[in-house]
């Protein structure tokens, strides 16, 4: 069984059906990139995977444990799934170090000293050890996003979900975040990434998933999707987005 299995996921907000039967799989160590026009349910899909949003129908398994089962301890599952938000969502009242250490201390019950040491190592990993004592409001957007990646990493997640991690960033800050993500992907982290950064997708994605109107239109390895997509709509979207964001991402 794959590390993550999503089967026939449905979600409706009022009259609008945002997810209309999404199925996908992610093997351990794989990185998949989800692309598609805004409002097609990409974020909702990610939020359903750790049940920050409750799906209406469909099942999800993480490492053989059914996430969607009412008997599952959802808090335990969430501590195993990192989530990187578009607008970082660092805890504003805590330093970078305490942001990373909080989950270790309160969720994993790691002793404070040990948690802080571990948090500092994670900040080192994203190149921000010198900012350990800075508060989020004293950091640039790119730095905040790297802290939030460190916060996810500290929990030793089996999988990290990225919800448009660079969309809120100034163009010159995008690179530093993508660099960290590329390093993670190459280091064997399992990642599901919603992004418009085609350069990143080409470089590290094992597969690209094109979503529109709540369904997966097409999925496949980047070289196939970029050069020879099966569905005309995929080609059209890729052309538009490459024009807009540039080839290199």
């Amino acid at each position: 069984m794959a590390l993550l299995v999503v089967e026939d996921l449905h979600k409706r907000y009022g009259r609008e059906e945002v997810l209309r039967g999404i199925s996908l799989e992610l093997e351990k160590g794989e990185t998949k990139v989800i692309i598609g026009p805004s409002g097609t349910g990409k974020s909702t899909l990610l939020r359903c995977i750790n049940r920050l949003t409750e799906p209406d129908r469909g099942r999800i398994w993480l490492d053989g444990v059914e996430v969607t089962s009412p008997r599952t301890n959802i808090y335990r599952i969430r501590s195993q799934i990192g989530f990187v938000f578009q607008d970082f969502n660092l805890f504003t009242h805590l330093t970078a170090l305490d942001n990373v250490a909080l989950g270790l201390i309160r969720v994993k019950r790691v002793p404070k000293r040990e948690a802080r040491e571990r948090a500092l190592r994670e900040l080192e990993r994203v190149g921000l050890a010198d900012k350990a004592d800075a508060y989020p409001a004293q950091l640039s957007g790119g730095q905040q996003q790297r802290v939030s990646i460190a916060r996810a990493l500290a929990m030793d997640p089996k999988l990290i979900l990225f919800d448009e991690p660079t969309s809120a960033l100034d163009p010159e800050l995008i690179g530093e975040v993508l660099e960290v993500m590329i390093e993670l992907a190459e280091g064997g982290m399992t990642m599901l990434v919603v992004t418009h950064e085609m350069g990143f997708a080409r470089a590290v994605a094992d597969e690209i998933i094109f979503m529109e109107h709540g369904v997966i239109v097409e999925q496949g390895p980047p070289e196939v999707l970029f050069t020879n997509p099966r569905v005309p709509r995929t080609a059209e979207f890729l052309r538009k987005i490459t024009e807009f964001y540039g080839k290199s991402g």
Binding site: N50, L52, Y75, R76, I77, R78, S79, Q80, I81, G82, F83, F85, D87, N89, L90, F91, T92, H93, L102, G103, R106, V107, A134, Y135, P136, A137, Q138, R151, A152, M155
Partner: protein
């Protein structure tokens, strides 16, 4: 005012101060009660399912809607009627504390909502329960935001403690009236003295809140307020 009037007034100062001490005790009691209940009411209003949330709204409506004086009389004489042995002092703390909890709840609700749902989502995403998220992420931020509006409530309830005289609590206002009752010439200076006491207490309380506000400021996140410019 004659010299002997002045003499009486000066002799009355210790009495007035002992009365003021009762006001301070009522204040501490009611504000603590209002603080704890206020946070609970706010949390229920924001996070709980519909029925408890509606009850909390009803509670807040009642205790903000009934005049304080009526509330004092209702609780003191009401409980007496049912043979609950309640002292005027305790009745005052409860009545004013419940009233304050309703007002404080709206301060805390506003602050919790200003912290925002995204902080909650981030806390949940690392595996925290809702209670943990509230305890370690939401409240530490919301309480900081609450300090300026809370200083309003503090200044307001401080003065409300004089209403306790209506159910027989011997506090500073009541004592001033004793003094004035015996010598009408002292009306103006005695009440001016009471006014001065409250001005000093208001100043001290707000100074303390200013210290707290600066002590717990989040670096990089603040705008300087009036409190620091003067």
């Amino acid at each position: 005012m004659s010299l002997s009037d002045w003499n009486t007034l000066v002799q009355g100062v210790p009495t007035l101060l002992s009365g003021l001490w009762v006001n301070v005790q009522i204040l501490l009691g009611l504000i603590a009660l209002g603080f704890v209940l206020g946070i609970l009411i706010a949390l229920v209003q924001v996070y709980s399912p519909k029925v408890p949330a509606a009850l909390a709204v009803g509670y807040e409506w009642f205790f903000r809607g009934v005049p304080e004086m009526v509330l004092l009389l209702l609780i003191y004489f009401g409980l007496r009627q049912f043979h609950v042995p309640i002292t005027p002092f305790i009745a005052a703390v409860i009545a004013l504390g419940l009233r304050s909890s309703a007002y404080q709840s709206q301060i805390f609700r506003g602050a919790i909502q200003a912290v925002g749902e995204r902080q909650m989502q981030a806390a949940l995403s690392i595996g925290m329960t809702r209670l943990q998220a509230i305890r370690y992420v939401i409240l530490p931020q919301a309480l900081r935001l609450s300090i300026p509006p809370w200083s309003n409530e503090f200044s307001s309830v401080l003065k409300d403690t004089t209403l306790a005289s209506a159910i027989g609590v011997i506090e500073v206002f009541r004592k001033a009236r004793f003094i004035v009752g015996r010598n009408y010439a002292l009306a103006l200076p005695a009440f001016m003295l009471v006014a001065l006491f409250f001005l000093v207490l208001t100043y001290l309380g707000n100074w303390l809140l200013g210290v707290l506000e600066r002590r717990y400021r989040i670096p990089g996140f603040e705008m300087r307020g009036a409190g620091e410019r003067f």
